[in-house]
């Protein structure tokens, strides 16, 4: 079974405010507001350059950050949360 590929609306679809370590996100298409903790905002941003699998997301994040706990399972778990919240979907 092929691993899921995730996608998200472009950054312009979200209004964001950083609150110290958290980010408040208004998802304009749904009108819902979410509080995101790392690495969820970074994952959403990593999707700005196009749909990606967990492995590709890990690659994109590792170009920018020194990752701690870089298990693919953690990325999948975070992405599934973003999918459940309506901020991302399985492409």
């Amino acid at each position: 079974m092929a691993p899921p590929v995730y996608a998200a609306d472009p950054p312009g679809a979200r209004a964001t405010i950083r609150l110290d370590d958290l980010v408040a996100v208004l998802h304009r298409p749904s009108g819902t507001t979410h509080l995101l903790a790392p690495p969820a905002p970074e994952l959403l941003d990593a999707l700005a350059s196009g749909p990606a699998s967990a492995e590709m997301l890990l690659g994109r994040l590792s170009q920018q950050y020194e990752l701690i706990g870089s298990e693919m399972d953690a990325i999948v778990a975070r992405m599934e949360e973003l999918v459940a919240a309506g901020l991302a979907w399985r492409a």
Partner: protein
């Protein structure tokens, strides 16, 4: 736009490329435990209790268009337009709106106006009076 908040200076040696709204802050990202949750969805306060949702109000039409009639398709039209119905004498509550959607008119309302009112409610958009009330009705509880 709203995501154009002040961008902090990039941390030493980190690349900002590919991250339009969240440039690297510390250059270190904790991916966290699988079980740790990182997303909390905030629902409008109206949705937090069934009682408050059912008591919120939807004016038909919104105050900016008072006096207008409601066409069968829910669009606002001039008073007296053929096929259009007069607005109700008072705003409907969330509970009444839900009942109307399910086919039950509030006491004192002309049942033949129900579908026009329902169509008006369904057309409500963000920024229109009553939208939040209508949106809350549709939001899953939990």
């Amino acid at each position: 736009m709203a995501q154009d908040y002040d961008k902090p200076a990039k941390a030493d040696g980190t690349e900002g490329e590919g991250s339009p709204s969240f440039p690297a802050r510390r250059g270190v990202l904790m991916l966290g435990a699988i079980a740790a949750s990182s997303v909390v969805t905030i629902r409008p306060a109206l949705a937090s209790t069934a009682a408050s949702v059912l008591n919120c109000r939807i004016p038909i039409p919104d105050p900016g268009h008072s006096g207008q009639y409601i066409g069968h398709d829910g669009k606002l039209v001039d008073p007296g337009t053929k096929g259009a119905v007069a607005p109700p004498s008072r705003p409907v509550t969330g509970e009444e709106a839900r009942n109307m959607i399910n086919g039950i008119s509030p006491p004192g309302f002309d049942p033949s106006s129900r579908s026009a009112y329902v169509n008006y409610i369904r057309r409500l958009q963000q920024g229109t009076s009553g939208f939040t009330c209508y949106a809350s009705l549709q939001m899953p509880r939990g």
